[in-house]
Symmetry: C3
Subunit: 345 residues, 3 copies
C-alpha cells in the first residue's frame, strides 16, 4: 500500500531544499493544474508557467528562480525533474512480493535460487540457473540453463531468458522481452541458407532496464554486451554482438544491426535504424526515425528522413527526387553559360 | 463446428437484400474466382470484374449497379464489404469455450471471476482482478492486480495485463500483447538515468481490438487512454499517456510517442512514427511509413518519406539532398542575374 | 556437452579440404585474432587480412588463394563462410532434450504427440494438435487446435501457434513468435469498424526459421504461406495472405502488408516496409529501412530513404524538399529564357 509522507521527508528523499511547512502531509502526486490538497506537483517547463500561479497543489518542486511565482510550499532544486523522479518512486505502489517459489513454478533441481528471491506462478527455471538475493521472477517467465540474475533484478512477467544469459544487479525487464535468442547468422549454399550456430550469449550490466517485447540476440562467437545503466524502451531489436555503452538510452521501436558498437551516454530516439558493423561515438544523439548507415565518430545530433506533409505537397515534390542529380547538373551548366556570357560582354 | 445457412439467413444477418433462391444452402466463403457450389463470395473492387461473369459461386454480395452482371444468386447492398464481414463471421469456427477455471490456472483468492467466464490452462490472475461475464482468458496469460475485464472481452493467449489495467466490454486482445508496462520515464542525474515511477495505468474502452505483440504503456501520473472502437494491429507501440480517439484504426508496426493525442476516426497506416506531445485532429489519415513530427490540426491525408527505387537511381540522386539549400540559393541568384540583364537591355 | 573433433572430422563435416595435421584436436571456434591452440577460425573478408598472418589458431578455414598466407593448418574451400557455418554447428551446445511430456504441460486428450517428441513445462496443447517425431516444444508454449508440427521442428520457448497453423519439418521458432493471429480485416459501417472473420490459417514449409517476437497473421479466406527454406529474423510482421517464396531471407523489424507476394531468393534488409497487394519478383533485394510501394518486377537492388546526417545539415536542406517542384519549374524556365536569348543574339 502507498503511504503518506511529510514534505520534510520528501525533501530529504529528493535532495531538494524545503521551503514552507515541513509537516505538510503529502499523499500523492499530480500535474500542476490537476493537483489539490495533499498532492505534490512539479514545474520544469516554462510552457506550463500559466498553471503555476493558480496551482492548488500542497507543494511544487521547482528551480530557485521560480520560487517567487509559487503560491504554496516548494521543494527547490536545480534539477526539478530528477527530484520529481525520486518523489514519484516514494508513491509507487509496487506490491510486497513474498520470497519463495510458487508451487506451480517448475525449478530444475540443478538451479540455485537464493532464499530471499521469489519465483512466481508458471515460471520455469532450467538447470544451472543462478538466481541472486532479492531477485523477483514474475509469472510465466522462462529461464534457460546457466542464466545468472544478480541481486535485486526483477523480471516483471512473461520474460524469456535463454541459455547462458547474464544480468547484473537491479535490472528491470518488462513483459515479453526475449534475451538470448539466436542471432541471424546464415551462410548461403547455392541459394539455400545454412545456419551459423550462435555460440555466444548476452551479458548485461547493472541497473539496466529492458522494455516490453524488446529482443536481444545472443552473439555468434562472443557475447552481445549491454553495459551498466543502459535503458531500453519497448520493441527494440538488438542484433548479435552489438555492444551498447554505459548509460545510453534508446527509445521504442529502434533496431540495431549486428556487431555495431554504440558508445556511452548516447540517446537514440524512437524508430531509429542502425546498420551493422559500425561505431557510434560516446555522446551521439540520433533523432527519431533516422537511419544511421555509417560510423558517427563525433558526438552531436544526427537526423535523417523526410517528415510527413499534406499528401498533395508530398506527391508534387517527391517525384522530383529522382531528377535531383539532373537538376544539379543543369543548374551548373546554366551558371557556366551565364558566366560565359558575362565574359562575352 | 461451422454450420450451414440458407441464403435468406445470410441476407438477414448481413443486412443485404436477397435476390434469387432464398433456400440455397451456403456452407462457406470463397473468392470470386475460387468459389464453387455452396459457397458465397463478394464483388467490391472493379479490378476483379472479369471474375464476376464467370464465377461458379452460389451467391455473390455486390452493389445494386452490379446485379445485372451477376450470373448467380445475389445479396445486394451499398456496402458489400460490410455485408461480407458479417457473413464471414457466420462461418467463423471459433470454438465453444466452456466456462470455468482450468485446474492448472493460478487464480488468487482475492480475484473475482464471473461464473460464466473461462480461464484457460497456465493463466495466472493476481489479487483484485475482476473478470466479467463471458470473458475468455486463453492459455498462459498473466493478469495483474486489480485488472478489470468487461463482459465478453477475450484474451486469445499469452497476453500480459499489468496492475490496474481496465478493458471494457467485447474487446479482443491477441497473443503477446503487453498492456500496462512501464512508460519510458527517465530523469538524468549527471549522466546516469533515474526512473520516474509510472503511477498511472491504462484504460481501454469497449469493442477495442489489440494485435499480436502490441505494447501499450501505463501513464506516468494519469492513464493512457484507448477509446471505444479503436482497432490496433500487430507490433504497435503506444507510449505513456497517449490518448487514441474513438474508432481510430492503426496498422502494424506503428509507434506513438508519449502524451500524444490522436483524434477520432483517424487511420494510421503501417510503420508510421508519431513524435510525442502533439495532437492529431479527428479524421487525420497518415500514409504508411510516414513520420509525423508536428501537430496535424486539419483532417486530411499526410505523407512523408522517399520510397524505394532502383539502387543506382537512389545513389545518384540522394546525395544531392545535402546540396538542396545551396541549389535553391544558386537558382535564385541565376534568376536575379537574368532579370538584371533583361533590365540592362 | 560440447565434444572435441579432429581436424579431419571437421574437414569432412564442412566439406572443405584438409591441409595440415589431420589429427589436430579442435575444441572450439574463435575469431582470427582471438584464437589460440585447439581453436579453429575462418578468413572470409580481406579487411581482416592483417590478422591472418599472426593468428594463433590451430586451423583456419579459407579460400585456396589464401592458403599461402596461412601460418597454421587450413580447411580450404571456395565458400569459407559456409564451411564455418557447418563447423560452428559441431560446437553448438544445444542440450539433449528427453522425449516425453512434462507433468506440468497440459495436453488435450485429443492431441497427438509422437513418442519421440518432447513437450516442456508449462506448455498447453489443444485438441487436434498433431506433433510429429523428434519435435521439441519448449517451455510455456501455446499450441492451438489442429496445429501440425512436422518432424524435427523446434519451438524454443514461449511460442504461440493458433488454430490450424501448420509447420513443416525441421523448422525453428524463437521465443515470443506468434503465428496465426487474426489478420487486420475491418469493414467500415458509418464510422465504426466491423471485424472480417479471418477464416484462413498459416502454412509454413520445411527448414523455416522464425525470429523472436515475429508475428505471422492467418489469412482471410486462404492461408498465409511461407515456403521452404525461408528465414525470418526478429520482430517481423507478416500480414494476412502474404506469400513468401523459397529461401527468401528477411532481416529484423521488417513489415509486409496484406496479400503481398514476395518471390524466391529475395533478401529484405532490416526495417523494410512493403505495402499490400503488390509483388516482388524472385531475386529482389531491398536495402535497409526502404519502403516498397509498388510491385518490383525485375530482380535487382532497390533502395529508398534519406540517411542520417548532422542535424544542422539536415535542417538546412530538408525544408527545400517542399520547394523541389517549384525549383524544377524555375530551372526549366531559366533554361528556356537563356536559350531564347541565344536565339535573339
Amino acid at each position: 500500500m502507498v503511504r503518506s509522507y511529510t514534505l520534510a521527508e520528501l525533501a530529504q528523499c529528493s535532495g531538494a531544499q524545503l521551503r514552507g511547512d515541513a509537516d505538510c502531509i503529502i499523499h500523492g502526486v499530480e500535474s500542476l493544474n490537476g493537483a489539490g490538497s495533499g498532492q505534490i506537483s512539479f514545474f520544469n517547463n516554462s510552457k506550463y508557467r500559466r498553471y503555476l500561479a493558480d496551482t492548488k497543489a500542497a507543494a511544487v518542486i521547482l528551480r530557485p528562480e521560480d520560487v517567487s511565482d509559487c503560491p504554496c510550499n516548494a521543494l527547490v532544486t536545480d534539477n526539478p525533474y530528477l527530484a520529481w523522479a525520486r518523489v514519484t518512486r516514494c508513491f509507487s505502489s509496487e506490491s510486497q512480493v513474498e520470497s519463495g517459489i510458487h508451487p506451480s513454478a517448475v525449478v530444475d533441481a540443478l538451479a540455485e535460487v537464493d532464499q530471499s528471491a521469489s519465483v512466481a506462478a508458471g515460471s520455469v527455471l532450467a538447470a544451472g540457473a543462478s538466481i541472486g538475493p532479492d531477485v523477483q521472477i514474475g509469472p510465466n517467465c522462462v529461464i534457460g540453463r546457466n542464466v545468472v540474475l544478480g541481486r535485486g533484478t526483477r523480471l516483471v512477467a512473461s520474460v524469456t531468458l535463454l541459455d547462458g544469459v547474464r544480468l547484473g544487479e537491479n535490472c528491470l525487464v518488462h513483459p515479453g522481452a526475449v534475451i538470448g535468442s539466436d542471432g541471424f547468422g546464415l551462410a548461403n549454399d547455392q541459394g539455400c541458407w545454412e545456419k551459423v550456430a550462435q555460440l555466444g550469449s548476452v551479458t548485461i550490466g547493472d541497473n539496466v532496464e529492458i522494455g516490453a517485447n524488446t529482443t536481444i540476440d545472443r552473439g555468434a562467437i562472443h557475447d552481445t554486451i549491454i553495459a551498466d545503466g543502459v535503458k531500453l524502451d519497448n520493441q527494440i531489436q538488438v542484433a548479435h554482438n552489438v555492444e551498447i555503452g554505459e548509460n545510453t538510452a534508446i527509445a521504442a521501436c529502434t533496431g540495431i544491426s549486428g556487431s555495431t558498437r554504440i558508445g556511452a551516454g548516447c540517446t537514440l530516439a524512437g524508430g531509429v535504424g542502425v546498420v551493422g558493423h559500425i561505431e557510434l561515438a560516446d555522446g551521439v544523439h540520433v533523432s527519431g526515425a533516422s537511419v544511421v548507415s555509417r560510423s558517427l565518430r563525433e558526438p552531436g545530433v544526427y537526423t535523417g528522413g523526410v517528415l510527413a506533409m499534406p499528401h498533395k505537397t508530398w506527391q508534387k515534390n517527391i517525384a522530383r527526387i529522382k531528377q535531383l542529380d539532373d537538376m544539379a547538373r543543369r543548374l551548373k551548366k546554366l551558371e557556366k553559360a551565364l558566366a560565359d556570357r558575362s565574359g562575352e560582354k
